[in-house]
C-alpha cells in the first residue's frame, strides 16, 4: 500500500460522502412563498368582496407571480440549482399556470361560482402540497395537503357562505401558519448548517 495511510484513505472516503450529502441538501427556502400567496389570496378575497371582483383575482395573482419570480430569482442566485429544486419549481409553476388559466376562463364565461372555485383550488393545492411533501419528505406539508383536500370535499357539500369560510380557514392554516412555520424551520436549519462548516485545503 506504499506510504498511503489507511486512516487517510478512510478520511477521504468520508470527505466524499459528506460533501456529496452537503451538495444534495436542499438549501432552498420555500416558507416565504406560502406566506406571500396566503396574503395574496386574502387581498384578492377582500378586494373582490369590497371592490371590483372582475379584476381583483387576475391582478392579485399576476402581481403574486411577478413578486414570487423576482424574490425567487434573488434567493436562487445564491444557491446552486438542484434536481429537487427544479422539481419543486416545476410542480408549483405548473399548478399555478393551470389554476390561473382555468379560473380566468371560468370567470370570462360566467361559470365560476364559489363552490366550484374552492373545490378546484383545494384539489390543485392539495395535489401540489402532497407531491412536494413526498419529494421533500416533509410530513407537515402533507398535513396541509390533507387540509386542502378536506376543504375541497367540504366546499362541494356545504352552502356558499360556509364554502367561503372554509376557504379562508384553509388559507390561514396552509398558507399563513405553514409559511411562518416553514420560515422558522428553514432559519433554524441554516443556523445549524452554518455552524457545521469547516475549511479544506489543497
Amino acid at each position: 500500500m506504499g506510504n498511503i495511510e489507511e486512516q487517510d484513505l478512510k478520511d477521504r472516503l468520508s470527505l466524499i460522502e459528506s460533501m456529496i450529502a452537503e451538495g444534495r441538501r436542499t438549501t432552498e427556502s420555500w416558507g416565504w412563498t406560502f406566506l406571500l400567496w396566503g396574503v395574496a389570496y386574502y387581498i384578492a378575497i377582500g378586494w373582490s368582496a369590497f371592490g371590483r371582483p372582475a379584476i381583483a383575482w387576475p391582478v392579485t395573482m399576476i402581481a403574486g407571480g411577478v413578486l414570487t419570480g423576482v424574490i425567487g430569482s434573488r434567493i436562487a442566485g445564491r444557491n446552486p440549482e438542484t434536481t429537487t429544486g427544479r422539481a419543486m419549481a416545476a410542480i408549483w409553476i405548473g399548478m399555478g399556470i393551470s389554476l390561473f388559466i382555468l379560473m380566468i376562463c371560468l370567470g370570462i364565461t360566467g361559470r365560476l361560482e364559489l363552490h366550484t372555485a374552492v373545490a378546484i383550488v383545494g384539489a390543485m393545492l392539495g395535489g401540489a402540497n402532497a407531491t412536494s411533501s413526498i419529494i421533500l419528505k416533509w410530513k407537515m406539508q402533507f398535513a396541509c395537503a390533507v387540509v386542502w383536500w378536506a376543504a375541497m370535499v367540504a366546499a362541494v357539500f356545504t352552502s356558499d357562505n360556509l364554502a367561503g369560510i372554509i376557504f379562508l380557514v384553509a388559507i390561514f392554516f396552509c398558507q399563513i401558519l405553514f409559511g411562518i412555520y416553514g420560515m422558522i424551520a428553514e432559519s433554524r436549519r441554516n443556523k445549524v448548517r452554518a455552524g457545521e462548516q469547516g475549511a479544506f485545503h489543497a
Binding site: 489507511e6 456529496i20 440549482e81 434536481t83
Partner: protein, 100 residues
C-alpha cells in the same frame, strides 16, 4: 493478488476532492457557494478549480445576473467518471489494507 490501483493525483488533493464531491450533488454551483461550503480562500479555490478545469473535470460558465458577474461551475462527464474511479480505487486500497 491483483495489482493495487493508483489514486488519481488531480482528484487526490483534499480541496479538489471536496469540490468534485460537492459538484456531483448539484447541477451547477456558483464560486461563492463553493467558497462557503469549503471555507477556502478565493485564491486557493480559484487555483484548485483551474486545475480541475484543465483536467476537463469541471466546466466553467461566466455570466451576468442582475448586472453582477457570476461564475458557475458544473461537473463534466469525465469528472463524474474520474470521481467514480477514484472511489473504486479507494475502496480497493482500503480492502487491501484490511486484508493485510
Amino acid at each position: 493478488m491483483p495489482e493495487l490501483p493508483e489514486l488519481n493525483p488531480v482528484i487526490h488533493g483534499k480541496l479538489r476532492l471536496a469540490l468534485l464531491s460537492l459538484l456531483s450533488g448539484v447541477e451547477e454551483a456558483e464560486f461563492t457557494w463553493l467558497r462557503a461550503k469549503t471555507g477556502s480562500t478565493d485564491g486557493n479555490l480559484g487555483a484548485q478549480l483551474l486545475k480541475l478545469e484543465e483536467a476537463g473535470y469541471v466546466a466553467v460558465e461566466k455570466k451576468f445576473v442582475q448586472r453582477k458577474p457570476q461564475t458557475l461551475y458544473r461537473m463534466t462527464e469525465p469528472g463524474r467518471q474520474a470521481l467514480t474511479d477514484y472511489v473504486q480505487a479507494l475502496k480497493l486500497l482500503l480492502g487491501a489494507a484490511i486484508d493485510a
